[in-house]
Subunit: 309 residues, 2 copies
């Protein structure tokens, strides 16, 4: 089994009628990544409604696990509904929610604040969890710092939470860095893995992902963040406790090797890579890649389409 | 000798009257870093005029080598004059100038453009070298990108030059990334080393240095930059050719271990760390440090002060 992301040999195969059947028979739950799996931007990926309906009719639990922290679970419910999909909040595990849960489970004091480099989704989940926040997309958007000034940060900030912020600027990066470096025990929480994760030009050429901002802050703070999104096991631990499903009876379906597939592998899930997002078949087969899903297929629709053949 | 930054054992000593004399006797040129050595922000460091005057009267060549690309050499001449120091343009080697020289020495075509993530200094040096630039502090300052749009970059951009840009934003990072990833053979030039380099809270608590932006772009481009600033040997090669001085007859004086001191060591210069900038004595002595200058002293004034005792 490919536990700990270190499979002994490159063994993966294209999903077939036989393996699709055996995969569905062998698991009780499917965990879906969203971007590149369920949708691309504002567009639903073909066949998704039928896949969800078929898997549900077979009694499978469907859960949605995304490292896109720009939305809260409430905002994701709306997005699912807009796209014609009936998904409830309790089945959505976004890294915005994971960040708030991390603070809660670690007894982050209610009198401490979080500084957010990221979008509305993080702010909303933090507030729902009862934490006061500074920052966010609008916070300090137009501020500039004078290099010659010694800037102080709010000493009540006990955590910095980082996701993609399209309004990123010098002030925000500097303020986040000051908090992490100068406030004793200040947590540095990342909603995604550091580094670059998008690679498919056909889908989207926006290369500035959360991981790039996180990389910048790793450099300026000289610290590594606590990653609450995939591939960290943090969300899996919550899933297992909440739904009492053995990870061996789950299948993680995603489009990214070093987040989705690694997340599933680390937990001992079955893993299915779909090629409808950022990973191409040649990237999967590239000798430099060392993360292999159990199966790969062009898109989620094949899971049910293959049952018919 | 500590060539290639890998000294065999931690041997460094505080500059003394004896070693100051022998250091001065053994070299023909002093290479000074600027920030933290000659000045701190807008303030001249005590004793600098006397040091420069004394060393010149002893027939030493004085050169100034800085990784701060925010200014051009012309702008540095003005800064030296404002601080009462007589230094001419030909003796200043800023990484803004180095970036332009790199393009020139590598026959960068005049019909190609450079995209600059950085301050005026880079733009000015590029223009003096005859290259057209896009970007800079004001370029795209207030632009925002739609994630769902496939953004195209100017195909005539053949180089991206990166320094500290206090007006950094999502658009600039994205545009720089697009150029580096999508324009064939586009150069990725860094005016400073990647990563974090400032560490002295007493002097300045602005942690967002050029290295942080460079780290972010390393993540988004999945490429390593060509570093034209210290510790790269690029500037040294120019110095040696222009002034015909053997590096063994030079002393590099700086406040940073992984840029200044490494730069000097790699070239085979004598090295003197001053503690008036970002490096503290405890950082120098920390077991995690593996870059050792020949000598260290609290500030440049000691070089001549010690001659008197």
């Amino acid at each position: 089994m490919a536990a700990n992301g270190a499979p002994s040999s490159p063994s993966f195969e294209a999903l077939s009628s036989r393996t699709a059947r055996s995969l569905i028979d062998s698991v009780d739950a499917f965990l879906f990544d969203c971007d590149g799996v369920i949708w691309t931007g504002h567009k639903l990926i073909d066949g998704v409604p039928e896949v969800l309906q078929t898997l549900r009719s077979l009694g499978k639990k469907l859960l949605f696990v995304t490292n896109n922290a720009s939305k809260s679970r409430n905002q994701y419910v709306k997005k699912f509904h807009t796209l014609g999909l009936d998904v409830c909040k309790d089945d959505i595990f976004s890294s915005s929610f994971a960040a708030a849960m991390f603070l809660k489970l670690n007894n982050f004091p209610q009198n401490k604040k979080a500084y957010v480099v990221g979008a509305e989704g993080i702010l909303e989940e933090m507030n729902l969890a009862g934490y006061a926040c500074l920052g966010g997309p609008e916070g300090g958007k137009n501020m500039e710092l004078d290099l010659s000034l010694l800037t102080e940060c709010d000493k009540s900030i006990g955590a910095v939470v980082v996701g993609l912020d399209k309004h990123i600027n010098h002030h925000k990066l500097q303020y986040a860095t000051l908090c992490i470096r100068e406030n004793p025990d200040c947590l540095f929480i990342a909603t995604d893995a550091a580094g670059h994760l998008l690679a498919n030009l056909e889908q989207c050429s926006d290369y500035q992902c959360a991981g790039c901002t996180i990389s910048s802050l790793c450099a300026s703070t000289e610290k590594e963040p606590i990653v609450v999104g995939k591939p960290s096991s943090f969300i899996m631990d919550i899933l297992v406790e909440r739904f009492q499903i053995n990870p061996a009876k789950m299948c993680m379906v995603g489009d990214r090797l070093n987040t989705d597939i690694l997340f599933g592998q680390n937990a001992g899930c079955k893993t299915l890579l779909v090629l409808s997002g950022v990973t191409t078949l040649s990237a999967l087969q590239d000798p430099s890649n060392d993360i292999y899903p159990n199966y790969y297929t062009s898109n989620v629709f094949n899971i049910v389409e293959l049952l018919r053949t």
